[in-house]
Symmetry: C2
Subunit: 259 residues, 2 copies
DNA sequence: CCAACCTAACTGTGATCACAGATCACGACA
DNA sequence: TGTCGTGATCTGTGATCACAGTTAGGTTGG
């Protein structure tokens, strides 16, 4: 069910407020150069972003079926933008459309999950190395902030599972963006889109499980490695983090056995 | 212009002939299990595949503008499937849709091309290692066949540029599929989709340029490494192949300087 | 009481229409 | 002669309608 979608479908096209009215009297050419191109966000992109967020956050469970019409109704838009969004996500493998049936969140095979994990180790490990070499102090501070947020959310008396998931995601992607390679970040986003539903669904379900303690350790090692500019240590810490999470998922047995 | 699109737009829906008529009298249940689900290919997927093929083959030049209506007319379909195809390809970065203007093949910045090359070295290098470990004799034979085809097409008196491009693509992807990791292959396809237009447009333009000789050397080294199961040698050969091609592209100066 | 059929609701897919915005070319004014 | 305004044309985007296929539920026959 898509019922509990983010409750802000109505003010859809109200985000582009800074349109500078008419362009009458260009007396001050400097001011016009600073406004940027005011990127118009199409409805389809908006729906795509919405679904992506739900997927990486694990709020759409594997096997859950989606209906174009219901999603459209829930988001207050026509069926058209939803079709576009689903097309894109299906092309990425983040959703799958059964032949004549419905569109649903893919359920990963054990083999598929293991392949995904190996790819994450290769790609995200490379990103960690690169980030260790090129991260600026400002970026380091931002990563540290997310690490603190994760620690607080995960180690509190009443663990904030949603907050931990979000902080973990922010931490990782702050790291990856520090590598300064946009296409690499997109690549990793695609991997997370596929693995997100299981990974974060589980993390949301049992918040403080060994994932918590282990993740915090590795995050700390990662930070010190980044501060020293030690690429291989950063890679090792990140690989340990990914590996620990993957091992935990595997032993919960939420994965399909064969094809 | 989409004018010189593959000249087979008319027999579009004529490929799914093996529909077993009516399902009257299921006397032989065994036969029914073998037919598979006869994957119905939707029109949108067909158009997507068509455009993908054009892109990786370099038959759509960077900066070339596409029109949904013209592509639809050229392919003999409605505008709808083309929209879906363009949406998917745009999500992959293989096409880009300017805000209010048109959809066009992206023109890579020098920096973007270098990033893409680095990612290819990481990902395709990993695939080569994995293939060296797990390739079966049958897969090795297939790779060798493509290598022979490339050699013949590239070293002939009148070089067959289109054939060389196709053989090169087949060779590489036979290698990557030998790694036995489907998601990895998809990942590499996405990279080729982005880099294909420049890479193969150039290869098509000047067929026997140093790219030819160098590529054949590295392909040969790659094959011997695969036969020995030498993972690091296979990676080295592939990296040399990619690096040589990339260096050649850079020195032709077809890339935008900044953003 | 169980199984098989049959109907009604719902699925994604494709086509067509409507619309705001951008592009481009022609023509008028300075 | 150079430059700006202006209208026709074409762009992608979104909505609505139509359709074939599937699914699920209720009913009927055994």
């Amino acid at each position: 069910m898509i019922g509990r979608v983010q409750p802000s479908p109505v003010p859809a096209a109200a985000a582009v407020d800074e349109a500078p009215g008419a362009a009458g009297m260009p007396r001050d050419p400097w001011a016009l150069e600073e406004v940027g191109v005011l990127a118009r966000e199409t409805l389809g992109e908006r729906v795509t972003a919405e679904l992506r967020a739900l997927l990486v956050a694990g709020r759409l469970a594997p096997g859950e079926k989606l209906s174009l019409r219901r999603v459209a109704e829930a988001l207050g838009v026509s069926m058209m933008p939803v079709r576009e969004a689903v097309s894109r996500l299906a092309a990425d493998g983040a959703l799958e459309v059964l032949p004549g049936r419905a569109v649903r969140v893919p359920v990963l095979t054990l083999a598929q999950f293991r392949e995904l994990t190996r790819l994450r180790l290769v790609v995200e490990g490379f990103a960690a190395e690169e980030a260790a070499r090129k991260a600026t102090p400002d970026q380091l501070a931002r990563i540290a902030a997310h690490e603190a947020a994760f620690r607080q959310a995960a180690s509190a008396e009443a663990p904030d599972s949603a907050g931990a998931v979000a902080a973990n995601r922010d931490l990782h992607f702050a790291l990856y963006e520090a590598a300064g390679m946009p296409s690499l970040v997109e690549m990793i986003e695609r991997l997370w889109l596929k693995a997100g539903p299981i990974l974060n669904l589980d993390m949301r379900h049992e918040p403080r499980r060994l994932k918590g303690g282990r993740a915090m350790q590795e995050h700390e090692k990662l930070l010190t490695a980044l501060r020293r500019g030690d690429a291989s240590a950063a890679r090792a810490a990140l690989e340990a983090d990914i590996g620990a999470a993957a091992a935990h998922i595997e032993q919960t047995g939420q994965l399909k056995e064969s094809d």
